[in-house]
């Protein structure tokens, strides 16, 4: 089997991102009871009406800068505290496990030599030390403590034949090689570090006043308890914190189970497959009881039957699962609102210091690595096995999970207390953007896998990661932009979003990249008939758009409409091609339309530029505007078309080999 990149580490990264962003939230809420009153006074003095009037917004931001900076220190201090405490706990938590597994004795020379061989085969520079655990220990495991990496094996290991001992050691070495020991214990460290961080604000709000005035607890204990536990803020905070911690734990277990398959496959690839198969066949088959279904949610290893199935069919481990899509969607979506709220209010000077941009970039990168890579890996596996990649079901799951995650995020109280009309556009636009990005990535992935000859090189994966970051981060930027426009102006804002995204240059760069990729991967040796057909498909909408523009849309309604009327005519040419591809459900899918749409759009743009050539004040600036404007408009069209094409796709169309 071809060695291909695993998105498992990125999924751990998403859990770590979520836990760290919850630290941001905890820090911000610690600021409230300590300096919230002062913050509100400054806000009142600066005049909240200034925040509404856009023309005076900068004055308001400058007035608030001092308290905003103070709040930012608390916010980022919270995340830093969680990270530092989590890193500190990472090598300390395993000691409890070691104490329970003990007493530990260094393994016999024969086992140590086999471990050194296994480490060398796995490509580890340093062989971990192997210890034999106490009589209570039944399962081998690996930890990293302050003194280094330790593999602890049960005394029963000695009863195994040599090839099975090698399989056990190779499996543990595969975990170490993949970085699982660090990732798993860092996640656990952060999880435990988050609990006190989330408790601090509640302590300051509800417990500290009682500590200062303990007599109230004696005078009216039940009234105090009723006030605390009946307080909507407290209940909301505690429930959402519990939900966050539970989801993080359950998803971490799910990721860990998938990593077990990868460790098995790596061990088998190292020459211990026979021993591993025998070992797993020898495992007792546990009777399935109904109450064990709950346990399976938090199980840290797949059952022997599933592991054997994965060893017999390695590509099954790369298949997309709805549960994984939902997990990734919820994890990243829960981090988005917290990231958005954590950035201080400031005068935006650069694109990279803008809250929405940074949030989109961070969340988009997490989605790209945790889900985008999984899509491309699945497409590669599907091409080899002939099984479909379940793009429709997983895209829908990712889209819905994004909505759920944004609703269930730990900082939910402000979202729910606001007017629903404010938050609904954000929920819908972000979810659709994420779904569109996943669908687009999936369509590209399938085309790449079909077009590829031979296994991909190692250098291909960073390029794939970059393409996915561009697609997911770009989609999140556009989603947030659309939501802001709709929130401010209602549905009329959607029109404004289409004509002025605010990301013109970046959108154009993205569309051109996708255009080139689509053209490259949908290219087949063209026949004369094919070229004629493609030319007709491009020219008919082009001519129609120009005719409508100059024969029908002759009188502009507003001054802005003069230019955007031309841009919309150009963009609609490309959009028509995308709609035709979706409506006809062509076997090639959306990709050929993505390769032709920018060509049609540019033809109309060129015609418009030439038409006004005598009257342009700066011809080359006009050419640049005519190039960038309509192409940028195609970016949201690509996302929406990809989502529609995927959702309406026939089942058989997703199978490779078509």
């Amino acid at each position: 089997m071809t060695r291909i990149l695993s998105p498992g580490a990125a999924r751990y990264g998403s859990i770590i991102l979520l836990l760290a962003t919850a630290g941001l939230f905890a820090g911000q809420h610690t600021f409230g009871p300590l300096h919230g009153r002062h913050y509100l006074e400054v806000n009142k003095d600066c005049g909240p009406d200034l925040a509404i009037a856009f023309s005076r917004h900068l004055s308001f931001v400058r007035c608030m800068s001092e308290v905003e900076q103070q709040k930012a220190w608390f916010t980022f201090g919270g995340a830093l505290m969680v990270l530092l405490l989590g890193v500190a706990l990472m090598p300390l938590l395993p000691y409890r496990l070691l104490r329970r597994a003990g007493p530990l004795r260094p393994a016999e020379q024969t086992i140590a030599v086999r471990a050194a061989d296994a480490a060398r085969r796995a490509g580890l520079h340093r062989s971990p030390t192997v210890y034999i655990g106490g009589w209570r220990l039944r399962e081998p495991f690996t930890v990293r403590v302050l003194a280094g990496t330790r593999i602890i094996v049960p005394p029963g290991l000695r009863r195994l034949p040599p090839d099975q001992i090698d399989a056990v050691l190779a499996h543990e070495m595969a975990h170490i090689r993949a970085g699982d020991v660090t990732l798993v214990w860092l996640t656990r460290g952060l999880w435990w570090a988050l609990i006190p961080a989330l408790a601090v604000p509640q302590f300051l709000i509800f417990v500290l006043p009682i500590v200062r005035e303990p007599r109230v607890l004696i005078e009216a204990p039940f009234a105090i308890l009723t006030v605390i536990f009946g307080h909507p803020y407290f209940l909301n905070y505690v429930l959402r914190s519990l939900l966050l911690l539970t989801l993080a734990a359950v998803i971490a277990s799910s990721v860990l189970r998938s990593r077990e398959h990868e460790a098995d496959l790596a061990a088998a690839a190292g020459g211990t497959e026979a021993g591993l198969l025998e070992l797993l066949h020898g495992q007792p088959a546990r009777p399935g009881r109904w109450w064990q279904a709950v346990r399976r949610l938090t199980a840290i290893h797949p059952c022997a039957r599933r592991r054997l199935a994965a060893l017999h069919d390695p590509h099954s481990t790369t298949e997309l699962r709805v549960i994984d899509a939902a997990a990734v969607g919820i994890l990243v979506a829960m981090a988005i609102p917290v990231l958005q709220m954590s950035m201080p209010l400031r005068v935006e000077t650069m694109i990279w210091t803008n809250t929405a941009h940074l949030t989109g970039l961070v969340a988009g990168t997490a989605l790209a690595l945790a889900w985008g890579l999984a899509l491309w890996r699945a497409a590669l596996g599907a091409e080899l096995t002939g099984r479909p990649i379940r793009l429709r079901a997983t895209t829908l799951a990712l889209t819905c999970a994004t909505s759920v995650g944004m609703l269930a995020h730990v900082a939910g109280e402000p979202t729910l207390s606001r007017n629903w009309s404010d938050t609904t556009p954000q929920l819908i636009c972000t979810s659709l953007a994420v779904g569109g990005a996943a669908a687009l990535s999936g369509i590209l992935a399938r085309a790449w896998a079909r077009h590829r000859t031979g296994p991909p090189s190692r250098a291909a994966w960073p390029a794939i990661a970059l393409i996915n970051i561009m697609v997911f981060a770009g989609a999140l930027w556009l989603g947030t932009d659309a939501a802001s426009m709709i929130t401010i102006k209602g549905l009329a804002g959607l029109g404004q979003f289409l004509t002025m995204t605010g990301y013109d240059e970046l959108c154009t760069a993205g569309v051109v990249t996708l255009w080139l990729l689509a053209a490259r991967w949908s290219w087949r040796r063209p026949t004369r008939r094919g070229v004629l057909g493609a030319t007709t498909v491009v020219l008919v909408p082009t001519v129609t758009a120009l005719a409508v523009r100059w024969l029908v849309l002759t009188t502009p309604t507003t001054p802005d409409w003069v230019l955007y009327r031309d841009f919309l005519a150009a963009m609609s040419t490309g959009a028509v091609l995308l709609v035709i591809a979706i409506a006809t459900r062509r076997p090639g899918g959306l990709l050929p339309a993505m390769a032709l749409a920018p060509a049609g759009t540019l033809l109309v743009s060129a015609a418009i530029w030439l038409r006004y050539l005598p009257i342009w004040p700066d011809v080359w600036m006009a050419a640049r505007i005519c190039l960038i404007g309509p192409l940028a408009m195609l970016a949201p069209a690509f996302l929406l078309a990809a989502l529609l094409a995927t959702v309406t796709e026939r089942r058989s169309a997703s199978s490779p080999g078509r």
Binding site: W135, R136, E139, F141, R159, L279, G282
Partner: protein, 150 residues
């Protein structure tokens, strides 16, 4: 507060000692460490192999303690419930010497007992092949006890 934990039954320790010292001598030190009937104990280590590689001694002590308890209470379930009445009485007689002697032939009962023992060993987390081997050794030890009694 909840009283002392049960000590290991003398017959259980004797049979286990016999089997371990003859067939698994590297585990003989374990016998001294285990003072009470071992219970199923899973550490749930997050990064591990996920397969059970239990040592023979704790599983054997656990299985024999379970059988001794069943012999005392007459409550039978699982693998022991599938044994015939004579085989069940034969098994109980090893742990309760005060019971009346069993009239049936041991050659008819012992294979049933061996299969049941292997099944319980597997339920307690032992690999199938090792469980069969251990059950065979235990039955040999029981047969020797029968010979001594006769």
């Amino acid at each position: 507060m909840f009283g002392r934990r049960l000590e290991l039954d003398a017959t259980v320790v004797a049979i286990t000692t016999e089997v371990v010292s003859e067939w698994y001598p590297d585990e003989i030190d374990m016998l001294a460490e285990i003072r009470t009937p071992p219970r199923a104990h899973r550490l749930r280590a997050p990064v591990g192999m996920g397969v059970e590689l239990a040592a023979v001694t704790p599983v054997l002590l656990s299985v024999l303690t379970f059988i001794a308890g069943t012999a005392a209470t007459q409550v039978v379930e699982g693998a022991l419930g599938r044994l015939g009445t004579a085989a069940r009485e034969r098994l109980a007689s090893f742990f309760r010497p005060d019971r009346p002697p069993v009239t049936s032939s041991p050659e008819a009962d012992l294979p049933q007992i061996e299969a049941a023992l292997a099944e319980i060993c597997v339920e307690q987390g032992m690999r199938t092949d090792l469980a069969r081997e251990v059950a065979k050794h235990v039955v040999s030890a029981l047969r020797r006890r029968l010979g001594q009694a006769g």
